[in-house]
Symmetry: C2
């Protein structure tokens, strides 16, 4: 079905144009007209793909989530086999922080989306689902690492997952230049060192 592929590609091109506009001018003044201009198409053509600003934002957000998942997947594929769970968690966490252009654009979109979601039930449900999906992946790695002896067995996987995800609070500190990227990365490393401190077990090699 080449037509459907083309439709999908066109929507992705539009989503990328939307990210660039968000990166440059923020989401508040974002209009469908701006995005059409950035994507090099007419407003009518854009409206053919997205009926409303909200529909366009939702797609751009879902697509950003997929792109983050792809980046994480690529980074994980580069780890030595079998990957150490500490490195897996590091990749997952670091790719959520605004440390390079793609991650920054997606992090800003995500922040804007969360704010809009506070006053829109459908967006809220969608943003929550996305977050819970990511949360489940992190929790699975934590549980397996505990089962395999990389993390002490008395650690609670739910609590450890919550703390790991809370560290995405570095986003604001980075965006406001209150910490340097190097300082944020060092803090993440030290945090993971402590999580993986064990009396014995494979984490001790």
């Amino acid at each position: 079905m080449p037509k459907q592929v083309d439709h999908r590609q066109r929507r992705e091109t539009i989503a990328r144009a939307l990210w660039r506009v968000v990166e440059q001018q923020g989401v508040r003044h974002l209009t469908m007209r701006d995005v059409a201009q950035e994507a090099g198409i007419s407003l009518g053509q854009l409206q053919h793909y997205f009926r409303s600003r909200a529909a366009m934002l939702s797609f751009a957000m879902d697509f950003a989530g997929e792109q983050t998942a792809l980046r994480v997947g690529r980074a994980l594929a580069e780890l030595p086999e079998p990957p150490h769970p500490r490195q897996v968690l590091r990749v997952m966490l670091v790719e959520l922080l605004p440390l390079h252009a793609d991650a920054r654009a997606q992090s800003r979109m995500s922040a804007a989306y969360v704010l809009e979601a506070l006053h829109d039930e459908e967006l809220h449900a969608r943003a929550r689902d996305g977050l819970l999906q990511g949360r489940a992946m992190v929790e699975q790695v934590v549980r397996q690492a505990i089962a395999d002896g990389y993390i002490e067995p008395d650690r609670d996987p739910v609590l450890e997952t919550n703390l790991l995800l809370a560290l995405t609070g570095f986003t604001t500190l980075l965006e406001l230049d209150a910490v340097t990227p190097a300082a944020a990365l060092e803090a993440v490393e030290r945090y993971l060192d402590r999580l993986f401190e064990t009396e014995d077990g494979p984490g001790r090699d």
Copy 2:
């Protein structure tokens, strides 16, 4: 100077009206007209106090920062003398999370403000200054706690302060109902337990 006091009070009344509007409908569609209506004054009267939406937002943000500082101060005053640094850090951290109406309104304003600051140098400098001020207070408590033996001497106060502030990432998890308030509070407690784990020293009593 009763007139100046009145001026200040009027601006604070407006700032509180602005918070309510932000709480109810978000910051994106926020106009001076909405705020005037919520504050029960005319648009002309509002413009007498604030020349622009940006000036109004900046004041509301500064005022929110002051109110957070007041809330923290009141909570600290209720601690037994001398307060344990673990309790001080707990109060500082928990008051930044959207766990009750005032803190939630201020947290949402703050998130919106950070997003606008990404595309406005003056707002960026202002938001950064506010964050660095809060950061300095946390770091001072951490340094003193290390000096007094409550926290192990090999901990780096800058890194520990960064990690504590990064835990404000619970904000997004709470706003999207991805963690419960109880789970966020428990994670903060456990995090502080670990920070204050010492071989000996006063933290061990």
